[in-house]
C-alpha cells in the first residue's frame, strides 16, 4: 500500500484535522494590532520632539491596503477615538483623519482596483504626509516654521517604515488565518 504524504493533511494555515479558522482571530486581530499601535505613547520613550511615526495609523493603512473589505468603512470612528485618547491630539482629530483616510482609499480603489507594491507605497506615503500635516495643523499648537522642520524627519521615517509595516501586517495576516484546535 502506498504511504500517504505526511503533509497531505496540512495547508499553509496548519493541520486540517480537528482545527478550524477562528472568526474571533480572523476578524479581531486587525483591530487588536491597530489598537496596540495606537498605544505607542506608552512606550518608554520620552521624546523632546515628535520622532515616532504614528504606528496606529500606519497599521490601519497597511491592513486596509492589504485586505480591502476586512475593515468596515466606518472603522475610522472607533479606531480614531481610541487613538485620540492617547496621542495627545485634541479629541476628534483622529476620528476625522482616520475616517477620511478610509473613505479616500475606498475611492482610490475604484480608480485603481489592481495595485502594485510601488503604488501601495506611493499611496501610503502621500496619505502619511497629509495625515502628519493635518495632525500638526489640528493639534491646537500654533504652527511655526520650526514645527514644519520637526515634522520632516518624522515623515521621512514613517515613509521608510511603510514597507516594513506592510511586511509585518502580511505576517500577521497569515497568523490571522491560522487554524486553531477546537473542542468537540
Amino acid at each position: 500500500m502506498e504511504r500517504l504524504n505526511p503533509q497531505s493533511r496540512r495547508d499553509p494555515f496548519g493541520s486540517r484535522i480537528n482545527r478550524a479558522q477562528s472568526p474571533l482571530l480572523a476578524y479581531g486581530l486587525p483591530w487588536l494590532t491597530i489598537l496596540l499601535g495606537s498605544l505607542t505613547p506608552w512606550l518608554p520613550i520620552i521624546a523632546p520632539a515628535p520622532v515616532l511615526p504614528p504606528f496606529g495609523f500606519m497599521l490601519m493603512l497597511a491592513w486596509r491596503l492589504l485586505r480591502p473589505g476586512l475593515l468596515p468603512l466606518w472603522a475610522g470612528l472607533p479606531l480614531g477615538l481610541f487613538d485620540d485618547l492617547y496621542s495627545g491630539q485634541p479629541l476628534g482629530s483622529g476620528i476625522v483623519l482616520f475616517s477620511l483616510t478610509l473613505i479616500a482609499i475606498e475611492l482610490l480603489e475604484i480608480r485603481f482596483p489592481w495595485r502594485s507594491f510601488w503604488l501601495d507605497w506611493l499611496t501610503a506615503g502621500l496619505i502619511l504626509a497629509l495625515y502628519l500635516a493635518f495632525a500638526a495643523l489640528l493639534s491646537g499648537a500654533e504652527l511655526t516654521f520650526v514645527q514644519l522642520t520637526v515634522i520632516g524627519p518624522q515623515l521621512l521615517l514613517s515613509i521608510v517604515l511603510v514597507p516594513l509595516v506592510a511586511r509585518m501586517v502580511a505576517l500577521l495576516d497569515r497568523l490571522r488565518l491560522m487554524r486553531v484546535r477546537y473542542l468537540g
Binding site: P41, P54, G140, Q147
Partner: protein, 304 residues
Amino acid sequence: MAPPVINTGPGRRSRSNKKAQMGVFAGYLVAGFGALLGAALLVISLLRPETFNGLRTMAADAASPAGEAGAVGRTQSQGFFEAVAGYYRAGSRNAELEEEVKIARVRLAEAEALRQENARLKAVLGLAADDARTVAVARLIGSTSSSARRIGYLSAGRADGVRPGMPVTSPMGLVGRILEVGGRSSRVLLLTDSESMVPVRRAEDNLVAFAEGRSDGSLRLRLINLGINPIKPGDVFVTSGAGGLFRPNIPVALATEITRDGAIAQLLSNPAATDVVVVEPIWQPEAAAAVRAPAPEAAEAPTG
C-alpha cells in the same frame, strides 16, 4: 487584492448586486457620519480643551501599569547605550572634562562659602529654609512621541495628592507642569510644548524673560525689556517665581543661540534622561486659585 465587484455591467444588474450597492452606500453614509462626528468633537475640544479630560484620564489610568513597567526598562537601557557610546568619545571627552572639573572645583569652593554665608545671614534674619516641598515622587512613563503636542504621562494621580498646575521637577531642573489628573496617573505639559510658557530670569542677575516651548526639544527665550540683547551663549536661566506657579530658582534652560529678541535655549532637564521626577506644590496659593477658576487658561502660563 481586488475589491468586491459591485456592478458586472451596464445591462446586467441583478437583485443581489442592488443589495450590495445599498450596502456600499450605507457604508459611505456611516463613514461620512463618523467623519462629521469627529469634526464636531474636534471643534469642541479645540474651543474648550478641558471638555474630554475625564475620558482621557480614565484611559490613561487604564494603561498606566504597563507604562510604568516600561519606564524601569527605559532607564536601564539608557544606561546601556550611554556606556557603549562612552567608549567612542573617551579621549576628547576626558580632556574636556578635566578642564571642566578644575573650574568646577573653584566654583564649588565659592558656592560652599556662599552657602555658609547664606545660612548665617538667614539665621540672623530668622528665616526658615522653605525649599522644595514634595507632593509626590513619580516616574515619567510615556510621552506623546508621534504628535506635535508635547505631553508626558506621569505615574501619580489624584490619589497621591497631585492637582492640575503643580510644577514637575527633576534633580536637573524644571520638567513641566501638571495638565490633567486621573486617579493614578496624570498628564504633564512638558516645557517644550508650544503652549508652555514659563517666566524665567538669568541666574546671575535679574534679566527677566519668558521661556516658550518650540516643540522640537528647545526653548525660545523672549526678553521682556527690549533693547540691546545682553544674553550670551552659555547663560543659565532659572524660574523667576513670577506668576506664583513655580517657586523661584529652579534651573530651566541654557542659552545656546542668540536671536534678535532673546535666545534659543536648550533644556537643562531633558525629560528623556530623567527617571524619577518630583511633583511640587504650587508656590503661591493665589496663583493656584487663578489657575483653577478659568479652566482654558490652565494650559497657558500665568503672565505678570
